[in-house]
Symmetry: C2
């Protein structure tokens, strides 16, 4: 093994934990377009978001300052698991017999096992500061609900999680994890909201959807002045908080005397991708590192970045949110039931979409079986079982490393291993049993959903 002189794991000392998040908007030549009110089609003002979010987060949503200070109490909590390790994948490199040098930032060391607590803790803090007593949120597979449960209990905020009913039944461990951290979890549709009651009255066996769960969470938040709502991805302030990942990684790469040629993150709503890549993209935006490649990896069954259109669309499937400028498959697009639940989202956030449009980042799509094959190789070499979402970043890394071998060229790859898969072992079991399939999304299917946006008269930015 080749790991004798350089360490495998690079730890950044706690006193070098970043003091500010990096806001990429400050360095973008074309700023992200503003969200629009769905009725008036006019840009939103802060007051439009005030029923949902505390003012400090609304400010972060629209700021163009380059750095936003991380409050000291948030840094203190980050220290429970951060800085997370940067790891040189010596064992994987050896198995691939590649000249590429592979590094990964490992976010699975957090309490809930993914990068999600980075923003959950920040959001809980700002809510607590403004006297919020209760937060509502939705969760699909449960990663976000468990991260926010962990965070809110630290600030004595009550949390009500609406969990998509079918996931609630399939993933009992996630519900338990939320309960351990005092999160209240109800299967959605529920009897707690008008929306839920109405749906249940018509269809008592409704399995739920992320759209319904969002709807219930927002309804409960809007009705009570002491209750706010919280979102785990897509929005600018969420991406901002996640940049702590890349800021640490940048310092750790320097400690390892290495510089990435390629930075890779899997892509659902964009939060872990933005987290690892934005601090590196800064150099590219400033013209210092023009050859840097930054790759967002999506499942080929939910291909908004590689096959979607850049235009205004709802952020949710029901149509409760503002119109967001994004690469989208249409909010009515129903992605197949792949195991990477966190990547089953029809659109991308405003910042990432603008960066893709302007050619600063690339996108790539990976079939489900390829992602599992990559996850299994990773587990057998590096000893960490990746989450189904994170497998996609591994799969793209394998593609790059194999290409490096074919070309006989070295290259340095950095990817974000956004979470472990210990709560997702049921998915691995299916793969080992040969029960995991790929799905084809037809052009017609995409066109049909995009047409809905035309019919609704949603603006298309040039």
């Amino acid at each position: 093994m080749n790991g004798k002189t350089h360490p495998k794991k690079i730890y950044l000392p706690e006193d070098r934990l970043p003091r500010a998040w990096y806001n990429i908007v400050a360095d973008m030549p074309n700023k992200p377009l503003p969200p629009l009110h769905p009725a008036t089609k006019k840009p939103l003002g802060p007051e439009d978001l005030a029923p949902l979010f505390p003012m400090e987060l609304i400010k972060q949503e629209v700021t163009d300052e380059r750095y936003v200070e991380i409050p000291e109490p948030v840094r203190e909590i980050y220290r429970i698991w951060r800085p997370s390790p940067l790891i040189r994948a010596y064992e994987l490199e050896k198995a691939l017999d590649t000249p590429a040098k592979i590094y990964y930032k490992y976010e699975g060391v957090s309490p809930s096992g993914s990068h999600k607590p980075n923003t959950a803790v920040a959001q809980a803090f700002y809510n607590a500061q403004e006297g919020v007593k209760r937060i509502t949120t939705e969760t699909g597979a449960g990663q976000w609900g468990s991260a926010l449960s962990y965070a809110t209990q630290l600030f004595d905020i009550e949390l009500q999680v609406f969990m998509v009913k079918v996931s609630y039944r399939q993933k009992p461990y996630r519900k338990t994890m939320m309960n351990i951290w005092k999160g209240k979890v109800v299967p959605s549709p529920s009897e707690l909201t008008e929306t839920g009651r109405k749906i249940l009255a018509e269809d008592p066996d409704n399995p739920g959807s992320l759209g319904i769960a969002i709807s219930e969470a927002i309804e409960m938040a809007v009705k009570d002045p002491h209750t706010k709502y919280s979102l785990g991805s897509v929005l600018n302030h969420v991406l901002l908080h996640q940049t702590v990942i890349g800021l640490e990684a940048k310092e750790q790469m320097e400690m390892a005397d290495a510089e990435p040629d390629v930075v890779i993150g899997c892509f659902g709503g964009g939060s872990n991708f933005a987290g690892i890549s934005f601090p590196f993209l800064k150099d590219k935006l400033e013209g210092k590192k023009p050859d840097l490649r930054v790759i967002a990896v999506e499942p080929d069954s939910c291909p908004k970045l590689t096959r979607g259109q850049f235009r205004y669309d709802f952020g949710d499937t029901i149509g409760l949110t503002p119109l967001i400028p994004m690469f989208t498959l249409g909010h009515t697009f129903m992605p197949p039931a792949i195991h990477a639940g966190g990547l089953r989202y029809h659109g991308a956030g405003a910042i990432v979409s603008q960066l893709l449009k302007d050619g600063f980042i690339e996108a790539s799509a990976v079939p489900q079986t390829e992602s599992f094959e990559a996850g299994l190789l990773f587990a057998r070499t590096e000893g960490i079982i990746p989450a189904p979402e994170s497998m996609h970043a591994v799969a793209q890394t394998l593609r790059e490393a194999r290409r490096a071998k074919e070309e006989g060229k070295s290259r340095t790859i950095l990817f974000n291993l956004s979470g472990h898969g210990l709560i997702d072992l049921g998915a691995y079991e299916q793969y080992l049993q040969g029960q995991i399939h790929d799905y084809k999304v037809t052009d017609e299917d995409i066109a049909r959903n995009i047409e809905v946006l035309d019919q609704m008269g949603f603006p298309v930015p040039e």
Copy 2:
């Protein structure tokens, strides 16, 4: 929070990973008594163990050299997750409002999530060196089976795991984890052995037991010269390998400028307890640290250390092993079905038993509900969900920290958090639902099982 000047997590650089395991036998004033052949009652020779273990491990079982060098390939693999972090429990201390300083060594960072790979990798290495092509083992809850699966695949050794049938059904995730690492798993009793076939012929619905699984694994190993058997606890060489935990912790405590007054580990067969404590006990055995307290924590429903007798007994429940000198409840003792499966063992290893008899260590027993209460507090403060076994160490730590507060005295506590509980969330769910109970073990019950040993004429050392 009080963590501003000192870091919460203390990382030992990889180049300071220990180069040798520590063998406490060298420093014991009274050496552990030898195992006896059950028929002749004569001490065993190396040749008696040769059908089961490679010669290098048999040598380690009986050596009295103070240090045993860790082979370089084993150190290279250790580096994948080791040195494991030493963590200052600032958040727990704050919640307890205690003057005690609490540190824990966290072994849950390993591939299978516990300390078990420390010996699994070493055992796989020595087997591979001697040309072994296949290893058999038994597993109850699955921690050991998954650790050994991870280790054997690294050396291209085939692994056959006999998993107690009732656990096989209750813990499907553990089976999946073993399969991810190429371990073959069969519910025991199985059709693969004569023992299994015989039991199934009489009782097709037999739920299995650890005793039956051991019996099957040993039968398969003995019948094939290229197949050996492997055990995850109790034996001297297993405890030896685990001392890497305490050796690291000793250096890390020095880095933190701290010295423990109390060292705590939970106790099943003794491997994680020995791992954390033996390197610290060395100072006590040498008279340098006479006041050091070392506490082995067992469930009060399997109280061999606090209520058992020191005498020769079988290591397994069926009677296939040599006679081992140990604190025991009798090999026929059936512990209640507590969730800490790894602590449901009737006896203690020879070394630990001698140390307890000679007064160098203490033992303590914790009820199941107290352990869960401690585990939940730990998860809410430190952010790590402990395994049911490890909760027992947490519970004893809470007792010591609360006593420190009552007495108004500071004291430094070090405990081993031997694993995370992410595969055991079902147990937490039961606790949160109020379905976890304590069990009483009566003196009569213990006496009845000890009487069996008298009837069998097993020797009692003075």
